[in-house]
């Protein structure tokens, strides 16, 4: 429990710091909402002229898009600091984290708050609410509970992928997290029904980097459609596996860390 308390305090300190710069806060929130809106502008423009995309209705596609967006939007709020890992390694600033009695990976994750995540969450939340009104889901208590578990798992998967991909900075020395950025963009694929992709791309988003489990797959389970629904129940398993993998990768990389020297 101590870890959680420290984590929240660390985030709190940064929230206060960011709120000192109010224009930054609003720019970030607006950027977040704008980013979420982009996909809907695209989908809206397209669905004005077609009825279905590979058998998926507008409401269903928005549900997939919003679910993936919501899972992703939490990452900047709780783990934005991990994007600075490459820079910390490059500058030797990781030293500070190593001398404190608290897991370095958590310190790095909570060393920054991305308020764009607030805008993302609001934007994706509104979309998800809209989509749920426009799709056919046979709601039961069980479905609500499992749905909640899948959502949390989806968030864990996104955080884990972000941590793991940024941990590559221990090997690829660059102050900018290019590798992680590239991986992040792969996630864009999972915001649409993956049935439109060829085998290789499906393999990438389901197996190699399981972004599909943070959007399309749980949505497919919820809608009981697309032939991937059964995979949805594996989402928590994937989440636990990737959380473990990300943790191991960070620590494996940490052993390679050598300070910048003075």
């Amino acid at each position: 429990m101590g870890h959680v308390r420290f984590y929240l305090r660390s985030l709190g300190a940064h929230i206060r710091a960011v709120l000192e710069y109010q224009s930054d806060f609003w720019i970030l929130v607006a950027a977040g909402i704008g980013t979420q809106t982009l996909g809907i502008v695209f989908l809206g423009a397209v669905f004005a002229r077609v009825q279905t995309l590979n058998g998926w209705t507008f409401g269903e596609v928005v549900l997939i898009y919003a679910l993936a967006g919501l899972a992703q939007s939490v990452v900047p709020v709780i783990a934005d600091g991990i994007w600075e890992l490459g820079k910390s390694i490059h500058d030797g600033n990781l030293d500070y984290y190593l001398v404190r009695p608290y897991p370095p990976v958590l310190q790095v994750m909570s060393s920054q708050v991305g308020f764009n995540g607030v805008g993302d969450t609001v934007g994706a939340g509104i979309l998800l609410g809209w989509a749920l009104f426009h799709v056919d889901v046979g709601w039961t208590v069980g479905k609500v509970l499992v749905g909640a578990i899948l959502l949390v798992s989806a968030i864990v998967i996104r955080v884990a992928i972000t941590v793991a991909s940024n941990s590559v900075s221990f090997w690829v020395r660059s102050p900018f997290p290019m590798f992680a950025t590239a991986v992040y963009h792969v996630g864009e694929l999972a915001r649409y029904p993956i049935s439109i992709y060829g085998f290789a791309l499906k393999l990438v988003v389901v197996v190699v980097v399981p972004f599909a489990f943070a959007g399309f797959v749980p949505a497919s389970w919820l809608l009981d459609k697309g032939g991937y629904g059964w995979l949805g129940l594996l989402t928590p398993v994937v989440a636990v596996a990737w959380a473990f993998l990300a943790y191991r990768m960070f620590h494996h990389g940490l052993r390679r860390y050598e300070s910048a020297g003075n």
């Binding site: 308020f115 764009n116 791309l201």
Partner: protein, 262 residues
């Protein structure tokens, strides 16, 4: 004339980007995945119909490929460096150099071109071989000029938006917000004809359509040669206008410079 000085800046930047080529390549993966996602989406959309808003699948693939190319060219190597130097106050060292700040940054941006062109050629070749068939440009010369004009226009838009860092502390928000606006109004997200009338009206008054829409429409020959020539003229007007806007914005921004300690 200090052409030689700027040529040196250009060479230094080209060397830097070559030294960081692994990062550069990782950084380019994102756009490639977006291209793949979009091709898959449009292929699914156009599977059972000949055209959407007058775009056949071949048109759309060509449009997306040109959109990819204009997204890569002049990506503004140095955008992040510039933002970081303004934020930290290190920009003060640039101020004492006897070079025009904007020209020096433009030279840096041009230094990225060799790698960018190489990337576009490789991706374009692979794309046409696998995602096949794309057309050849309808009006060769006009297409070439419009593609070249993209480089300074994109630079100036990046440059002016990065100057906002003199006011805000957080560069990412500015960068994301700008990307949203550019994606919608440039036609990179979806051809402008798919978007509502008011977006189109607004787009004619903004420089962003010059980045993607103009070269892409010229490439696929969707517009007459006279119209193509008019749009290229408009691009050249934006090059000149944005250059002076940049100079003006710099003079205003630099007064806001904050340098911490020493």
């Amino acid at each position: 004339m200090r052409v030689r000085a700027y040529a040196r800046v250009l060479r230094a930047s080209a060397k830097t980007i070559f030294a960081y080529r692994v990062s550069f390549l990782f950084g380019s993966v994102g756009a490639i995945f977006q291209l793949l996602a979009m091709v898959a989406l449009w292929t699914a959309l156009l599977r059972n119909r000949d055209e959407l808003a007058g775009f056949s699948l071949t048109d759309m693939k060509s449009y997306l490929l040109v959109g990819y190319a204009t997204g890569v060219l002049g990506t503004g190597f140095g955008e992040q460096w510039m933002a970081e130097r303004i934020r930290s106050g290190a920009v003060s060292l640039d101020l004492v150099k006897p070079l025009n700040y904007q020209k020096a940054r433009f030279a840096e941006s041009l230094g990225g071109l060799p790698m960018e062109v190489a990337l576009v050629v490789v991706v374009g070749t692979v794309f046409t071989s696998f995602a096949g068939p794309v057309m050849t440009p309808a009006y060769h010369l006009l297409f070439l000029i419009s593609l070249l004009a993209v480089v300074p226009i994109k630079f100036m838009i990046l440059y002016v938006s990065t100057l906002i860092c003199f006011w805000t502390q957080n560069y990412h928000g500015v960068s994301w917000a700008r990307n949203v606006i550019v994606a919608v109004f440039s036609g990179a997200l979806v051809p402008l004809v798919f978007l509502p009338q008011w977006v189109n009206v607004l787009a004619t008054a903004l420089p962003f359509a010059s980045i993607t829409s103009t070269p892409a429409l010229i490439f696929i020959g969707r517009i007459s040669e006279a119209e193509a020539a008019r749009l290229v003229g408009l691009q050249l007007m934006w090059v000149v206008l944005l250059w002076y806007i940049g100079q003006f914005a710099w003079r205003r921004s630099v007064r806001h410079l904050t340098v911490h300690g020493g």
